[in-house]
């Protein structure tokens, strides 16, 4: 079966009058129907940009330099080549998005009812009454206990968790094929986080929606996703099923990330951290691996030539020269 969303060799460039550089380089992703796909990476790794690129919401100084973003619903659409109007029909209808900050993601001047119904107005032909009924049903299904009352409330009257529930209701009310969740639980309490993740899981399972989960939290990935792509400095460095990545990480960066999680009962004094910082886009090396400067295993070739994505095992890729038997000096 063909995948629902496919990113083929997508690169994103930044241009300003003075300089221009590449930010995201040759991303390849495939998200199947009903799949829960995670992108994990540090701040500045380009994970949010990737999701905005899918929605065609990049700011003016950013553009998709090359590659194709393909969405296959009833028909096949190349999202980055769609007209503005056609793209607006895709947004909210085929792909919905949940943002990180529930505090600012709702317009403070309108009631919850208005904001949920706004989505329906653009995508469904329904009477006012039907829309209201549908909105109430949706609020009920996201676990809001008195939906009729909430409908007339303004965003500031709701708690963070409630607002995120409303956001989920807004996103799923059109039954989109894909839900992009950009750090949906980062701004919430830990106890609420689990509830929201469970809720998203249940609802998407019910409607057969795929999820693209963007997060820096490996715990969230482990809890919700089937597959995961690890991003570093605008590239996918490792990609596989969540189980493979967690049990058998191949890329030194993934290994470093997993090592820096502190588990309960671990009494060692120091928390492991990967030395150095994520480079900013203007510091990206033209040649070689972008992680080489921080990699404990780096050797000459890492600085001179960019590694391809090596197939490791049956269903895992890792972008590292260590997997090349000829190049690796340690073998």
């Amino acid at each position: 079966m063909e995948s629902l969303l496919e990113l083929k060799d997508v690169s994103i460039d930044f241009q300003s009058k003075r300089k221009s550089f590449n930010i995201i380089k040759n991303i390849n992703l495939k998200i199947d129907r009903k799949m829960k796909y995670g992108i994990v990476g540090e701040s500045g790794s380009g994970k949010s940009l990737t999701s905005l690129a899918v929605m065609n919401l990049l700011s003016d100084n950013l553009s998709i330099g090359q590659g194709e973003i393909i969405l296959r619903t009833e028909e096949e659409k190349v999202l980055n080549h769609l007209s503005k109007k056609a793209m607006r029909d895709v947004r909210g209808e085929d792909i919905a998005m949940i943002f990180q900050e529930p505090m600012t993601a709702l317009d403070p001047l309108y009631t919850i009812e208005y904001q949920i119904i706004e989505v329906l107005k653009y995508h469904r032909k329904m009477s006012k009454k039907e829309m209201r009924e549908k909105a109430i049903a949706m609020l009920t299904s996201v676990g809001i206990s008195r939906p009729e009352k909430i409908m007339d409330d303004y965003p500031h009257q709701l708690s963070g968790g409630m607002r995120q529930r409303v956001m989920i209701a807004m996103a799923l009310i059109t039954e989109p094929k894909l839900l992009i969740a950009d750090e949906p639980t980062t701004a919430l309490d830990v106890t609420i986080q689990a509830q929201i993740l469970d809720l998203m899981n249940d609802l998407t399972e019910e409607h057969g929606t795929s999820i693209l989960m963007i997060t820096h939290d490996l715990g969230v990935i482990l809890e919700t996703c089937d597959r995961v792509a690890v991003m570093y400095a605008g590239q996918v460095v490792e990609e596989s099923t969540v189980k493979n990545v967690f049990d058998n990480p191949q890329h030194p960066y993934t290994q470093g990330l997993l090592k820096s999680i502190k588990t309960l009962g671990d009494r060692s004094e120091k928390l492991y951290s990967i030395p150095g910082n994520v480079p900013t886009p203007d510091e990206y090396q033209e040649l070689g691996c972008r992680f080489a400067t921080r990699c404990p295993f780096a050797f000459d070739k890492c600085f001179s030539e960019e590694p391809p994505a090596f197939q490791v095992g049956a269903d895992q890729t890792s972008k590292c020269w260590l997997h090349d038997e000829e190049a690796n000096p340690n073998e």
Partner: protein, 276 residues
Amino acid sequence: MRDFTRKIIEDKVGLVGLIGVLLVVLLAIFAPIIAPYAPDKMHTLHTMEGPSSQFLFGTDEFGRDIFSRVVYGAQVSLQVGLIAVGIGAFFGLLFGLLAGFFQGKIDQFIMRIMDIFFAFPDILLALTIVAVLGPSLTNTMIAIGIVFTPVFTRLIRSAVLTVKENEYITNAEAVGVSNTKIIVKHIAPNVMAPFIVQITLALSGAILTEAGLSFLGLGVQPPDPSWGVMLNESRSYMEIAPWMMAFPVTAIIITIFCFNLLGDSLRDLLDPKLKQ
């Protein structure tokens, strides 16, 4: 809204301003009832008389009742204020929304033109425009409207830039709302607070500028009863008939003062940073 009215009333200063402004408005609306005489009626036997029970504020050199002229002057002042500020506010809102939302070349184009207007002092720019268009009530309003446009544009633009960064705007885009709808439904309503405050403050500025222009003879033309015109006429008789000057000046001061009080109070009320 009820909450809002209550807050204005609780704020004593704002209440004084509000009452003052309402009084001026009532004065203007009911001028024909309040004023004992027509504003241009000449009582030739009573020229330049001091205040008396027959002529409350005295009479001018043609024997016209100054009280009646001050009352009718409120009409002119408010009319100029509202229409001129209306022009400035409308174009300011339009340009500000366009510049702030689309940024880039449109922004550069609009803001550089506004900068040119900003380079001139208000009264000088208004004078120049009136001089070109010819002095009349309508042209005064147009001139003041043009002078006020850049202030509104700059204010709205900066407010739009702040509002635009909110995730609810990205969210609206992500749901498939068109640009026009986003501007009209989500951005414009969210920049209303500073806009309203600026309108009240601009009203007092417009009234003052009109009085200034009329005083210089380039605004409202005699015999129309504008406070500025009255000041101009009283100039030559300042020593022998000081009431001719005192009453219109007082009217101007009180009106401006009340509008400013109301504006200040509104600013405090609508400032999200001061909200508890």
